[in-house]
């Protein structure tokens, strides 16, 4: 996992070296992708009117024979409704929407410069006793609505009358579902929902030669805009992570039965984060998410990204092509998304426990079209020699401001991650390009998160992140 991140960061640095992003006065230098979060479920949803497409990525590591997936769905799915999208598209959408780090360089205060135009655009980048089986299913109150093989999966769509019967049927038919599933299945049966059940067809899986399980995609039409998460909580130990990408037409998607909040972002971090191993950007993001989730008592859904999918600024990766979007189930795009219909991407990240998320996630598409991203900024101080400075007064003012800024950056990093502020100060002052200016001990202790500070920021800013 760690190596993967480093590779991504190095690749990104090479990209950055080849040019800067358009309309963005800095360089994109790294990202924190979803692979940071161990065992995070990854789901890409497409919602257009009453049409929903659900893409599920399997991070299942065990033997294929042991694998079983049971997902409640509102309607009976036919073979043409089920597909296996490309695994690579998940990595692409993850990379495109990943939290990002941007860096700026302070202008030399000895030679004040007037704003220049922005940099150039980036080159960024079955069969024994079938009748008997049917009788048995009928006796258990389970009905096989449809049955087919898609890619490496044998898929069965079931409807049931009793949760006990369904649990028994699943066990008898070789699905390894956790004990005590009946209680979790009951609410879905009462609501008349069907069950999408998949297991691996060993022959097909062997033929494909893949050493991982292909993602699954299914689509249906229903007013219900929700994601069932409760079934996955049976036997859950500790908090679980879900990273969810929702592609929609109108605007940002949020949950209606849980609070949806934006993660703290668009703040300055100490520049040493770029080089430090212990406090790397990936570790910062991971620690920051842990801290924020804990602070909210695992009761909220975090927004990590919301953007019009035809562009990005700065780009962590290129937007998805029309073909890639089509692979995820987006319909009605003709050729280039830039000229075609718009697709908005909302990236949500949830850390939930069975106690704090007693219900499935219910969503709504809002009218919000303000692009938003988890972007963190490094501002490198200017390098100059004070003795040779022709504009000494200006340079001294700059140095005084710089000391305050560095203390604020250290405080911000400590507040967001829960890391020790003294350790941060030490690292900041011993970082290579920072050594010249130690942090003033008497600098303001402007902790970033008191209610008054929030109110002040709310009044100053556009209100997007109070």
């Amino acid at each position: 996992m760690r190596r993967k991140f480093l590779t991504a960061a190095v690749a990104a640095s090479l990209v950055a070296a080849s040019g800067a992003a358009q309309a963005f006065c800095g360089f994109y230098v790294g990202k924190a992708d979803a692979s940071l979060f161990n065992e995070a479920s990854k789901v890409v949803m497409v919602r257009d009117g009453d049409r929903t497409v659900v893409n599920m990525l399997n991070d299942y590591q065990g033997a294929p024979t042991e694998f079983a997936l049971v997902v409640p769905v509102p309607v009976v799915l036919q073979k043409e409704d089920v597909k296996t999208p490309l695994r690579a598209v998940f990595d692409r959408i993850d990379a495109y929407s990943a939290p990002r780090l941007a860096e700026y360089y302070d202008p030399n205060p000895c030679h004040p410069q007037y704003p220049r135009s922005m940099a150039a655009p980036a080159a960024a980048q079955k069969s024994i006793g079938r009748a008997m089986a049917e009788d048995r299913a009928e006796a258990l109150g389970v009905r096989v609505e449809a049955q087919y093989t898609v890619g490496p999966y044998d898929i069965v769509i079931l409807s049931a009358e009793q949760s006990d019967g369904l649990e028994t049927w699943l066990h008898e038919n070789g699905y390894r579902i956790p004990a005590g599933a009946a209680q979790a299945l009951a609410p879905y049966i009462r609501q008349g929902m069907k069950f999408f059940v998949a297991k691996v067809n060993l022959e097909e899986h062997a033929k494909s030669g893949a050493n991982f399980l292909a993602p699954l995609q299914f689509s249906f039409r229903s007013e219900k805009f929700m994601l069932p998460i409760r079934l996955g909580m049976i036997n859950a130990r500790g908090p679980q992570d879900l990273v969810l990408w929702v592609l929609s037409r109108k605007g940002r998607v949020e949950t209606t039965n849980y609070r949806t909040v934006k993660l703290p972002a668009n703040v300055n971090l100490p520049p040493y984060v770029k080089f430090d191993k212990d406090h790397s950007f990936a570790r910062f993001y991971s620690a920051m998410f842990d801290e924020q989730a804990k602070r909210e008592d695992y009761r909220v859904v975090f927004t990590e990204y919301f953007w019009d999918m035809s562009w990005c600024d700065p780009c962590a990766a290129n937007p998805l092509s029309a073909q890639e979007l089509a692979n995820l189930g987006v319909e009605g795009l003709r050729g280039d998304t830039r000229r075609g219909a718009r697709v908005m991407l909302t990236r949500l990240h949830v850390r939930y426990t069975p106690e704090t998320f007693p219900e499935d996630l219910v969503f709504q598409e809002t009218g919000d079209r303000h692009n938003w991203q988890t972007r963190y900024v490094l501002r490198h101080p200017a390098k100059f020699d004070l003795e040779d400075c022709p504009n000494r007064a200006h340079a001294e003012r700059y140095l005084a401001q710089l000391r305050h800024r560095r203390e604020r950056e250290a405080q911000t990093l400590a507040t967001l991650t829960g890391w020790d502020v003294d350790a941060i100060r030490d690292k900041a002052s011993s970082a290579p390009d920072e050594a010249a200016q130690p942090i003033a001990p008497g600098a303001p202790q402007g902790a970033a998160d008191s209610p008054l500070a929030r109110l002040w920021r709310w009044l100053q800013d556009d209100g997007a992140q109070p």
Binding site: N257, P358, D368, W458
Partner: protein, 304 residues
């Protein structure tokens, strides 16, 4: 106290503060005591402040300012044009607070437009001397229905028990003074009752019920929208029937049709039932106490 406010139109003239012309301080105290809407304004201001400080409300300060500017201007325009006396801006303030708390938009013009439209409707769409729609409710519905880039975020309150308790406690006090606690409680009883039955039927755990109960948006609706005596039936018995209708429609909307913000849409769709109920079962029309006093002192014209 509550009894007096209830019969405002008839007992207000006998209020000691009016007759003896005591000093300003005493008159202000009397004003604070007798107009339930002052409490509502203070409470809603607290609610909005809490939301902005402790919750991610995605609300811009300019949106709040524009809502109030447009709302108050619209109220003053209609008061002047219709030559009404004894009508202040208190109810317009309540509407503006309601819109700020509930309506979300990604532009600056949605809030003032919704405020101007719903407060105008209050003076134009009137049946039997009462306005047809609760202005806050109408503003939210018009915004979401007609204006692009507007939405309601029902989940933004989260489920903090503490906040819910505050809303119940303070909201209860406010609604009590507004004589409509029965309407609020009846709605909550019907809606939550139906929800509890659904939980039993589905075999869900009771934490699902607690999750809904702690939803500030539902309580905000119950204590500040449906409880408006000006848009509720006049008789106590018909109020219960009305609350049942709104609760039933809200429940079907949300859990049968799987659409969002059931209570808000249900109140909007049930509003035309109020004149019908008042015609079938006539009762005494409610009057805000302060307005009743002023109207009686000056002339027996329309109170609002």
């Amino acid at each position: 106290m509550r009894r007096q406010a209830l019969a405002g139109g008839h007992t207000a003239g006998a209020h000691p503060a009016q007759r003896a012309r005591p000093p300003l301080r005493a008159r202000l105290a009397a004003l604070v005591r007798c107009d339930a809407r002052l409490y509502q304004v203070v409470f809603l201001a607290l609610l909005l402040g809490t939301g902005v400080l402790l919750r991610d409300f995605s609300l811009q300060p300019a949106q709040v300012a524009l809502t109030f500017a447009a709302g108050i201007a619209t109220q003053l325009f209609w008061v002047r044009r219709l030559g009404l006396s004894g009508v202040g801006v208190l109810s317009a303030l309540i509407t503006c607070f309601g819109l700020s708390v509930l309506l979300r938009a990604d532009s600056l013009w949605v809030h003032p437009l919704a405020a101007a439209a719903c407060l105008s409707a209050k003076f134009v769409l009137r049946v039997n001397g009462k306005h047809l729609f609760n202005p806050g409710n109408l503003g939210v519905v018009l915004g979401v229905l007609l204006l692009p880039g507007a939405w309601v975020s029902p989940g933004q309150w989260g489920s903090d028990l503490l906040i819910a308790c505050w809303v119940i406690a303070l909201g209860g006090a406010v609604a009590g003074r507004a004589r409509s606690i029965n309407l609020s409680l009846a709605f909550l009883a019907f809606f939550l009752g139906a929800y509890a039955l659904r939980i039993v039927w589905l075999g869900q755990s009771w934490s699902v019920f607690a999750h809904l109960l702690q939803n500030g948006a539902l309580l905000m609706f119950a204590f500040f929208m449906i409880s408006d005596p000006m848009t509720a039936p006049n008789r106590n018995a018909t109020r219960l029937l009305y609350a049942a209708c709104v609760a039933a429609l809200a429940f079907v909307w949300q859990f049968g049709l799987f659409m969002q913000n059931g209570p808000i849409w249900a109140l909007f769709l049930c509003a035309p039932l109020v004149p019908l109920f008042d015609r079938l079962w006539p009762g005494e029309r409610p009057v805000w106490r302060r307005e009743a006093a002023t109207a009686r002192a000056l002339r027996p014209g329309p109170a609002r």
